[in-house]
Amino acid sequence: MKLFKHKNVQQLASLLFGAVAILLFFSTQAFAASQAHIDSGDTAWMIVATALVMLMTPAGLALFYGGMSRSKNMLNTITMSFVAYCLASIIWILWGYSLAFGPDLSGIIGSSSNFFMNGIGVKSVSGTIPTYVFVMFQMTFAAITIALVSGSIVGRMRFSSWILFSVLWLTFIYSPIAHWVWGGGWLSKLGVLDFAGGTVVHINAGVTGLIIALFLGKRKGYGKIAMMPSSITLTALGAVLLWFGWFGFNAGSELAADGLSGSAFLVTNTAAATAGLVWMLIEQIRSGKPTLLGLSSGAVAGLVAITPAAGFVNPMGSIVIGTGAGIIGYLGVTLVKNKFGYDDSLDAFGVHGLCGIWGALATGLLADPAVGGAAGLFYGNPKQLLIQFIAVIAVITFDVIMTIIIIKIVSLFGSIRVAPADETEGLDSTIHGERAFEI
């Protein structure tokens, strides 16, 4: 992973900052509030959907990951998600939203028009909902995406490095990609289908997770000592809260309470249930022990895979997607990880990366025009699969390059890995000075 020497890093960094600075301050045109009308039903739904997605990060993911990490690192794991949510909350309204959803600059990034919520007020409307609600909804997506990354690197990353990494990542990776796909950028012009974030959220988080896990190296004793999950009960609760929140994530991505959001709602649930059962069935077959961790992991894998497809596939399509997700997720965390030997600790790549790719491509296969208007390969439109493929490749490439750059920048401020003794003692005590349970 030593691709860059320090002076290179510095050059790259200045280049990067320069480029973004130019992009950012290029445009200052005022935001023209849409003349549309607020629908109270859609608004009701979208506020709630947003609250549901919010719950996913500091509660759902925090418990899902926290329960899987060792008890000496449980609080650190939770804190990484929690602090990521807080950082995203602020970054988003200061500059992230504008970079992602501000007026398009050459298909690459949004302009700085809406920095500091400039030009947006109580009366601003997006579609049929208040713009502020749209801003919050999109913020919760940014928050969970960076939080997902933390799964790859639990138990060994410096907390201050994580914070700096999160800030840079949200700014220089998440915001542009969100712009490409949802903010009127080049991928959206190309016609990519990503209903709720297969590329923007899951592939993005998974690939970054893998890169940073490779860079950080394995946890001490990885593969040799037993690294028992601190609480499968809390992991399962976390998975259910994720599932619950995902209804807001996927059905909310319709931005209205209508037939399509109802459809996205149903297929989301079906894919999750299918993948959970499939994962558990594979366990039953392979080891005779169907686990709750497997059921939970499978459900999450299914949710990941259906995310890009939620507004495009019919219920039977969602069963196919869920089945694939159960299989791919299972292989991702066992075969693939063991074969390549990296320590993607809680499988951000194995589950989110791989199932995100599967979901993005499956959308290109299974999109049913009777659902969302767009057709996939099986409905006679092979071109869609190609577009999906391009999007996947583009996001992965951008992710790999930019993540390496950001890691290099963060590393300028000191090692991003904690001291070995601290790792052995556990991060809860050495970083936070706290313990998870005293019972």
């Binding site: 899987m68 593969g223 037993a226 690294m227 028992m228 999950p229 080891s287 022990k289 686990t291 961790l293 497997g294 992991s297 299972y330 965390v333 066992t334 075969l335 990880k337 063991n338 499988d347």
Partner: protein, 112 residues
């Protein structure tokens, strides 16, 4: 006075306790331990990672008794803790120099 220490299977504790109570043993102290021995631990698989668990949960029972009672107490423990399967545990016996009851400062056999 002797201290009898028995490492037993956790689910046998209630039987052993009842057996000892039947003998008139008036006190004992119990703690949770983990044992390594001929009985092999098991393997747990979490998300594809396989961990072998060498240590098996056991219960350690400590009873301090008069010298003359040792035999029948050991007998009772054996009776109630045996399953005949590997991992039933051990009994260790040591001599005590003295015993004191904190509440009354009684010592020796009175203190048990």
């Amino acid at each position: 006075m002797k201290k009898i220490e028995a490492i037993i299977k956790p689910f046998k504790l209630d039987d052993v306790k009842d057996g000892l109570r039947g003998l008139g043993v008036s006190g004992m102290t119990v703690s949770e331990v983990k044992g390594y021995g001929r009985q092999k631990g098991h393997t747990e698989i979490y998300r594809g990672a396989e961990y072998s668990i060498d240590f098996i949960p056991k219960v350690k029972l400590e009873v301090v008794v008069k010298d003359e009672d040792v035999e029948k107490i050991v007998e009772t423990i054996l009776e109630n803790a045996q399953t005949g399967k590997i991992g039933d545990g051990k009994i260790f016996i040591t001599s005590l120099d003295s015993t004191i009851r904190i509440r009354t400062k009684e010592t020796g056999n009175e203190a048990i």
